[in-house]
Symmetry: C2
Amino acid sequence: MGFQNNLKGKAQIFKALAHPTRLSIVEKLLEGERCVNDIRDLFEVTQPNISQHLNILKYSGVVDCRQKGNLRCYFLIEPEKLRKLLNVLK
Amino acid sequence: MGFQNNLKGKAQIFKALAHPTRLSIVEKLLEGERCVNDIRDLFEVTQPNISQHLNILKYSGVVDCRQKGNLRCYFLIEPEKLRKLLNVLK
DNA sequence: TATAAATATAATAATATAATAATATTGAAA
DNA sequence: TTTCAATATTATTATATTATTATATTTATA
């Protein structure tokens, strides 16, 4: 579930984080779960593009989502790991 | 020098680590500096390809190199940060 | 100073990723 | 049960990355 130990798995997680938009999404989700439109409003980016980035984060094991009414809320699967990861780069 | 605090800089470092070959190079360099051919022998990869990956790691601020006789030795600029980064994914 | 070993650079072809535009799906409420 | 808001999917185009091949550069040494 989520984070991987092997080489390809690790590289995949780094790849998921290797885009400014996705990195911003992750930083936002460190504050708590957010629905797609909340996330979209943070950027000058189209809705389908955000959806695509979210999908990349999802199949990389970084986020997951749940339906909440007619909203789809995304959240970090392992927020503490991501917090540590990003803290190292400060 | 090396690691960056801003969004693009962070994304660039993740991008540098987002390839299995480069990740393996970094893991090897955690043991200490290595010349190109030492690194090359670890993989089934051509010499120019290793050189290219090393160059990506270099301009991303992850490694630097120094001449040592006729060898060029690569080393991690901030080994402790990388050690922490990789430890998070375990 | 010619040669060999070590490494880098350049050009190319193959592949992957990104953004965009158009369309489809889903759930809630009217 | 139609409509709307929220989100996803698909296809397309543009761009970036990767591996490969060929060639160049550099350093040490014969």
